[in-house]
Each structure stands twice: as C-alpha cells, then as structure tokens.
Symmetry: C2
DNA sequence: GTCTATAGATCGATAGAC
DNA sequence: GTCTATCGATCTATAGAC
C-alpha cells in the first residue's frame, strides 16, 4: 500500500487521501508518512513548513485539476451544453460516484476553514462562476444562470454528504442525474 | 430511559457547539471544559466514557429536537404543505440561516463516520422518510416524493457547505428559497 | 460534585548519523 | 535524501484531596 517516492509531486495523491479521510487535524504525521512511505525526516525535507505546506500543495494540485478538467472547459465559448455535460462526467469520476468526499468541502465545514479560507473560497467561487458562464452562454439570463449554478454546486456537495451518511452511492448518482436534467 | 441529572443536560448545548465547530477529534477536553465551565473531573463524572459518551448524548439531543420540531410534524396527516413550510422555517432557524454547520453532516464527512454510523444514518434516513411522507400526502407520487425529499435534504446540506466556503449566509437563504419553491 | 495533579500515549517538529 | 532518536507540547483518562 505505501508508495515510495523520490519527488515531492509523487507524494501529493497519498497526502490528499489522508487529508480527505481524516481532515487537517486528524491527518497525523504518522498517517501521512505511512501513506506516502516516507519518514518524518523526508516529509519535512519536501515540505519544510510541515502539514500546512502539505495541505497547501494538495489544494494547489486539486485546484489545478479542476481548473484544467472542469472550470476551463466550462468557459470554452462553443457548445456550452456539451461542456456542462462533461462537467458532470468529470465530477462523477472525481468523487468516485459519491464514494469519495470533497476535501475542499471537508475543510469548509472544519475548524481550519479560516486558515485555508482563500483556497476554499476560490475553489467554490471559481466553480460557480464558470458554470454560470456556461449556463449564460447556453441561453439563460445572467440572474437565472447564477442562481442555478449555485444550486448545482451546492447540490453536488450535499449529495456527497448524504451519500456518505446513508452509505449509499446511488444517492449521489440520483442527485447528479437530477442536477444534470435541470441544466438542460 | 435513565434519569439524567439537570447539570448533565445543561452541559449539552455547550458540548454540541464545540463538536460542531471542531469535529470529534478536534474537540479536546480542554475546549469542552472551557465551553461548559466544568473541569475534567466533572466532565468524567457526568460522562464516564469520556468524549464518546458526550457526543452520543449530544446526538441524542439533536435527534430529539429534530424529531419533535421537524420530523414528527411532517408526518402529521393534515395540511402537509403547511408542515413542509414549517420544516423550512425550523431548519433555517436551527442552522442560523447558514451561519451554523450541521453536526451530523460534519460527522458524515469525517473519519469517525463509522464509529457513529448508526445515529448519522438514522438522522438523515428519518429526515428523508418524513419529508417523503409529507410530499406523498401533498399529492405527489411515492417515487417523485422520495426523489424530491432526497434532493431537498441534500440541497440543505450542500447549502451549508457552500455558504461556509463562500462565507456568505445569503447563499444559504437563496438555496432554501429555491428548495421551498420546488416543494409547492 | 468539583477541583488539581499527573500518568501514559501521541502529537508536530527538530537534530544528527549515514 | 532518508532514517532514527528525541524534544516539548498536548491529548485522553485517572487518582485523590476537599
């Protein structure tokens, strides 16, 4: 299970998984070391500022992935309906059909929200803005588009919470299908 | 039901606030003691099993409140539309218009989900079931009612996440208004 | 009942050998 | 670059004075 890595970037997926599963405070250096296959010394070699730098790097990676695979495609001016459909596909894959929680959502609810307020705010604001742009491009009024975009992003986050609580990934699937219909 | 001393019950609101704000792992006995005004000795006198018993008691209190103020009224057979409207009113008050997170939702996303799987599952399953019953009573087909109930409960949870992330309670208000419309 | 003192474990972070 | 050893702080939980 532990993964041996000689580059800082190689450790990020394992670090992300621990932060997602245990939150910031619950992600101990022991767990982070076990997941990456690195000792504390190595972790501090790659991330001199410790856990805070590890999470910042993970959030940067998450943001880059969503920017490239979700946000930017929504802002491509041709075929907004197709771009919105692609968003739902990527998001469903990313959250493994509701089996994986959203790290940014976890941080938003947690006690370290203030510490990472900027990346958390940026992630969701960018998502809502990009979807609003696509919906507007698809013909909706700007006010309707903004309201619907907020509804969809919130609905996805809520579907993750409910699917985890009920331990039923189909809850996530049903919610995604409903939200997808609403953007037609 | 065992007798609960006045002092123990009086400590529950303060304990609940600490668990909501810091999660289970982040709620230290120091914070719990400071919030309740009790020393560690007193806390262990009222809750011999420590934090686990404190959270269990808090979850029992939350469940009782929602059962009395939200779930049971939804199952009153007369005027389901009014009962659903009352649900939104009580929920908006309870979550202080999006300024207060949902403790059960926080637990569902956290690493102690398995430890408290039963109360977390019960809370959301009961909420969805009660709302489904009211929507059915209001004239919807049982399949439509179940799907809409899931959408509404998930939408409320997602609105809490998004409102916290964007630090904007109006996001919660707008989401609640939209969900309220959808149940007409 | 409520407090202080403290045990025993674990935390983040550092130092130094190799 | 990776490891082990270890520090000081903090954690849960217990013991005992009052």
């Amino acid at each position: 299970m532990p993964k041996i890595s000689t580059e800082r970037a190689d450790a990020l997926p394992a670090l992300a998984e621990v932060f997602r599963e245990h939150g910031y405070g619950g992600a101990s250096l022991f767990l982070l070391g076990k997941a990456t296959g690195l000792g504390k010394g190595s972790l501090y070699h790659f991330f001199p500022n410790g856990k805070e730098e590890m999470l910042a790097a993970v959030l940067g990676e998450v943001d880059s992935w969503f920017e490239a695979n979700v946000f930017a495609p929504l802002c491509g001016k041709q075929d907004p309906a197709r771009a919105i459909g692609a968003m739902f596909d990527r998001v469903d894959e990313y959250f493994r059909s509701g089996r994986q929680v959203c790290l940014v959502g976890v941080l938003a609810l947690g006690d370290v929200r203030d510490r990472f307020a900027d990346p958390v705010h940026s992630y969701f604001a960018r998502w809502v803005a990009a979807l609003t742009e696509a919906l507007t491009e698809a013909g909706q009024s700007s006010t309707d588009a903004a309201a619907l975009a907020e509804e969809v992003v919130a609905g996805i986050q809520g579907a993750i919470v409910l699917a985890r609580a009920l331990d039923d990934p189909e809850v996530f699937g049903r919610a995604m299908a409903k939200l997808r219909e609403r953007t037609f």
